[in-house]
Each structure stands twice: as structure tokens, then as C-alpha cells.
Amino acid sequence: MYLGIDSGASATKAVIINEDGQIVAYAIVPSGINFKVSSEDALRKVLESSGLGSKDISYAVSTGYGRALVNAKHVSSEITCISRGIHKLFPLVRTIVDVGGQDSKAVRVDESGRVLDFVMNDKCAAGTGRFLEVMSSILGKPIEELSKLHFESSKPVKISSTCTVFAESEVISHISQGSAIEDAIAGLHEAIAERIYNMSSRIGFEKDIAFTGGVAKNQGFVDALSKKIGLTPVLPKEPQITCAFGAALAAIKKQKENV
């Protein structure tokens, strides 16, 4: 069995796969402030749900912000892991757009899943999951409800600021002027989609397209970004674990290299 751990800025994901690269179990826990603790937590959970023990894991690869703090044999970058994960699931994909807690990225891969080019957000958090987390708390709506409310909107508001702090005051002012919360939410999804579209355009949108990362669980955002790009993406069943899955696939490769 092989383990991939993605120690992300917002959530830590652990995936166990078998020799064939099939997912046996996975776990997602909040990263909190201590990557070491959250990665141990994720590992414990994934072992529990798989019924395996740590001795059953022949190789582990870590990735994500806390990659060096996680007890794994090898570390790999998120870009490579996401590409590996998507290539296994959808070999026809050439462009991947990943939106996570603190980073958004677009990756262009070739027919063998090799990375050709990538682009990541600048140091600002506006095009990331953190932006939506901040907004959901201001609007008093849990992050899981954003998607449902998005599709209830009839007239999305226009958010012009790309700064999280300024966008916050913009949203408050829209609401105080009588805009509906669902219109604010749809407007926020459009704003973040716009930003990610602009960034990703630097490497282009060669078909097929896949969306990954925690934010891709939000159908409202997926809808806004798909419309902006003008293409229908493929999505893994659980988009948030794609990177950890890719890390686990890297573990198989590493094990083979070492034998």
C-alpha cells in the first residue's frame, strides 16, 4: 500500500492506494496551525478507515506547504502531484486549474502527464479558498452552503476589487444597499473565477480541462469558472484529494525506482 499526504495551507489530505493505483481510503482534516499534528491526525484517520496499520505502507510521499514537516520518505511539489493524479484519472486532460486554500494554479501537461508549464497566483489571496472562507464568515453562511445559494441568485453583484479586505467592504456595502445574499455570493464566485481565468490565460486552455482542489467542491464556483472559460471541465469525485492521490502515485514510482 502507498500513502500520499498533502499538507495544505487550509486542509491536510491523506490518501492510501493499492499497487494498481486504486484509492483504498482517504481522510481530510483541517491543517490548523501545526502541520505536524494535522498530518499525524490525517494519517491516523486514513489508517483507521482502511483498517490498515502503518507497517502496511511501503512508501509515502508528501506534498503541500507542510511537505518538509511530514514524516514521508520523499517530498514532491503540488504541481507534479496534481498532474500525476489527474493523468491517472483523466488521461485526456491537458490543462488543470487547481484552487486551494492559499494558492490557485493552472498547469499544462502533455499526453504523458508531464508538466509543460504552470502558473500560480501572486502573493495575494484573492483568487483562493481563503477569500471565500473570509466572505462566508462575513455573510454568516457556512462554506458548504455557498454553492446552493449561488444557484438561487438572479442578479449577481459586481465585485470590482481584487483585494480580500476591500472586497469585504464592497460586499458589506452591496448588502446594506439591499442586494440579496445569494447575489453577493454569486458575485463573489464570479470575481474569483475572473481572477483565476486571467491568471490561467497565461498558459492557455487546451482541452480537456480539469478542475481540482478544495474550492472545486463548490459547484457555484465551478459554474462561474466554466462559463468564464467557455469549456466544460472534468472533475474528480473528490477534487480536494487529487494532489494527495498524485503523491501516493509518486510513492509507487519511487518504490519501483528504489527496488
Binding site: K73, V75, S77, R114, V115, M120, K123
Partner: protein, 406 residues
């Protein structure tokens, strides 16, 4: 055990590089000596012809250089925050902000207060407004030299050149009258020869970076450039560059590189991140060495002492940021081949629009003409508050993995 990615052998800086700190400290301490002796101190922008000032016995110091040094030593925040408390916005160039903070807080540090402010508008549009602000804040006399943009190499020989020569003469007249100094042509010619020799040595040294393994890395070039920025025309600069080239030639002969296992040869485009120079080591620890930076060539210029003023005027005009983009691209493309570049790191610098705006042109050349991968990241050259370390290292790791696969 944690394997923090592909760490390869050790990397080291040159012996000569270790001496730059002392050399620069000495340069500043001698500025205070000059001040005490009643010699005028000029605050200059870094593409001002120091050779001319030196010939007049005016002691030049460069606030940009001082700000970079303060940033590298971790003491620039005091000055940045002082400027911000006085109302200067964080959006402004951090060199100018740091310097204005210094100017507005007593000027008691390493850099003595100015007796004249001299700038040439030959690389940066902010210079003039910055120097004007200093002039108003400090009441110090101001000289602004105008240098037209060089559109073709012919401009280095036509009325554009004459125009700059006239201004150099004007600067001499003003300084002579203001400070009762006398311009000595013989002394000037000698200074030009010394300046030319330092440039010659440095350019020759940079060329040696074409060898594999590269004998002089980014941590060296980032420091070794300074004697050429402020000490042109001084014997000490020549002594430094002679020692440096000797050491580098020895390394080439022994096939000793900056890093033990050279995997990638990189180009760095931009001004260095002074407060985070250890980022260069982060690359080196992963087998990547910087072998070429346009920045490192910026102050090197061969002078012809037989036509002193003309030659110096050409130097004022011909710095990279004042050159036509096609001329810059030509040099850039040559270097990619000459130094056998595998990848490029482009630093989009919040403070320096002159450098950062044309970077997409550079990026396109890398991709379309050479099919060389590049990494572009954002930060500031001197203000550490604009730097997201974990995020940048995350991108570097991904970039080096991509390079490793290609």
C-alpha cells in the same frame, strides 16, 4: 527521515566576495572623513557618472546602494517606517522610501548628509521626483541631468551624445562655482582609465561563468557588483576585481564550481531581493546555480580615455534601462546561448516598474524562441514586508521539479 527534496552537495561563496562588506564599510567611513575635511558629499542615483564627481574631488554616495545594504543587513524597516509615518505610501519604490526615511530622520547612519544632489534620468523615471523631494526636504542644491532614451546605436554618436556632453560640462561649471573647486582634466583622464580597468576586469570575470561548473554564483555576483557601482575610478576597485578574477580563474582551472553538483544553469532577471539573499542558496542547495543576470552587467562600461567627456556621456546613455528594447533583447538572447541557460527566474519587483513592465517580453522570448522554462514571482527588492517566503519557495520547488523532468 524527511528528504527535503533534491538537496545536492555544498555551495560556497568566493573568498573575494567575503571582502566586499569591509570594502563598502570602508567606502562609507571615508565619506565621513571627506565630510569632516569639508569636501562636498554628493548623493547620486546609481547611473550618475561618478568619475566626473571624483575628478572634482566631490565624494559620491548612492542612496539606492545604501538602501540595498540596509535591507541586506536587516535594518531598513526603521527608515521605511519613518517615511511612512511622514506620509509616504507603501506603494512607492522602497529605495526612495527608505532614503526619504533616512533623510527625514537625521542622517546619522553610515551615509553622511549631502551637499549636492545629482541625478541623471537615464534608467528610472522616479529619480527626478525623488531627488526633487530631497531638495525640498533638505534644502540641498539639485542637479538634474536629462538623458534621452537611446533608440538606435547611432544615438550614441549624434546630437543625443552632444546633449549629454553639454550637461556634463554644465555640471562641472555648477560644481566649480558652488564649491570653489577646479576641474582637472589630467586627473579626470586618469580616473577614467581606472574606471575602465575595473569594468574590463569585471566583464572578463563574468565571461568565465560560461564554464561548467560555473565558478561564480549569484551570491557572489550580488555582492561583487558593488565596488563597480560607487567605486569606479578608484584603485581599491581594481585591486578587488584583480583578486576576484584571479580566484575565479583558479577555480576554472580546477573545474571547481559554486556548487558541487551543477544540475541547472539559471538566469536571474531583476534586482536581487536584498533582505532574502539566502534565497540564492536555496536554489544552490537544490543544484541550481545562477550564471547570468542582466543586473550584474549594468554598471560595466568600457571607457575611452582619449575622448573623455564623450566617452563618459556614452556611459550615461548606454545603461540597460535606457536602451531601446530591441538592443536589450539582442543582448539577452546572446546571453542565453553564451551561458547555456536551462531556466530563468524573473522577479517582478513591486518597486521597480522600469524593470518589471517589460518582463513579459522577456518571458515570451524565453518560451517562444528558446523553449526555456521560467518562473515569475512577485516581491519587493528592499521591503521585506512584501515577501511571502513559504509561497515563493513552494513555487521554486515546483519549478525545479519541472526543470528536472524536461
Amino acid at each position: 527521515m524527511v528528504n527535503t527534496s533534491a538537496q545536492t552537495g555544498r555551495s560556497r561563496v568566493l573568498q573575494a566576495t567575503r571582502k566586499t562588506g569591509e570594502l563598502i564599510m570602508d567606502y562609507f567611513s571615508k565619506a565621513w572623513d571627506a565630510k569632516a575635511q569639508g569636501k562636498p558629499i554628493a548623493w547620486i542615483t546609481v547611473f550618475t557618472p561618478v568619475e566626473l564627481l571624483r575628478a572634482l574631488d566631490i565624494y559620491p554616495v548612492a542612496p539606492e546602494h545604501f538602501a540595498a545594504m540596509c535591507s541586506a543587513r536587516g535594518v531598513i524597516l526603521d527608515y521605511l517606517e519613518e517615511a511612512e509615518r511622514k506620509g509616504y505610501s507603501q506603494n512607492l519604490c522602497s529605495y526612495s522610501r527608505g532614503n526619504l526615511g533616512y533623510a527625514l530622520s537625521g542622517m546619522s547612519g553610515l551615509m553622511p548628509s549631502p551637499d549636492i544632489l545629482v541625478t541623471f534620468r537615464n534608467s528610472c523615471d522616479v529619480y527626478v521626483k525623488w531627488w526633487q523631494s530631497l531638495h525640498v526636504h533638505l534644502g540641498t542644491p539639485l542637479f538634474v541631468g536629462e538623458s534621452p532614451y537611446v533608440l538606435t546605436v547611432d544615438d550614441l554618436d549624434n546630437y543625443v551624445l552632444d546633449y549629454v556632453v553639454k550637461q556634463l560640462e554644465q555640471l562641472v561649471n555648477i560644481a566649480e562655482k558652488r564649491f570653489g573647486l577646479r576641474f582637472d582634466m589630467e586627473r579626470f583622464v586618469n580616473i577614467l582609465k581606472l574606471s575602465d580597468r575595473a569594468s574590463e576586469l569585471w566583464l572578463e570575470t563574468l565571461k568565465l561563468r560560461r564554464f561548467r561548473p560555473c565558478p561564480l554564483g549569484g551570491r557572489d555576483s550580488a555582492s561583487d557588483i558593488f565596488p563597480l557601482v560607487v567605486m569606479q575610478g578608484k584603485e581599491e576597485a581594481i585591486e578587488f576585481y584583480e583578486e576576484l578574477i584571479g580566484e575565479v580563474k583558479e577555480k576554472v582551472a580546477k573545474a571547481e564550481g559554486t556548487i558541487e553538483n551543477e544540475r541547472f544553469r539559471l538566469l536571474f532577471d531583476g534586482i536581487w531581493l536584498w533582505y532574502a539573499l539566502d534565497l540564492i542558496k536555496y536554489f544552490e542547495d537544490r543544484g541550481a546555480v545562477f550564471v547570468y543576470e542582466p543586473y550584474s552587467e549594468a554598471w560595466a562600461y568600457r571607457l575611452d580615455a582619449s575622448k573623455p567627456l564623450e566617452s563618459l556621456a556614452r556611459k550615461v546613455l548606454a545603461n540597460g534601462l535606457n536602451l531601446d528594447i530591441d538592443l536589450r533583447i539582442e543582448r539577452f538572447s546572446e546571453s542565453i546561448k553564451e551561458f547555456q541557460i536551462d531556466g530563468a527566474v524573473l522577479f517582478s519587483n513591486r518597486s521597480c516598474k522600469s524593470w518589471s513592465v517589460p518582463q513579459q517580453v522577456t518571458a515570451d522570448i524565453l518560451t517562444k524562441e528558446f523553449n526555456i522554462p521560467h518562473l515569475l514571482f512577485e516581491a519587493d527588492m528592499a521591503d521585506p514586508r512584501q515577501y511571502a517566503e513559504a509561497q515563493i519557495k513552494n513555487r521554486i520547488d515546483a519549478f525545479l521539479e519541472v526543470l528536472g523532468e524536461s
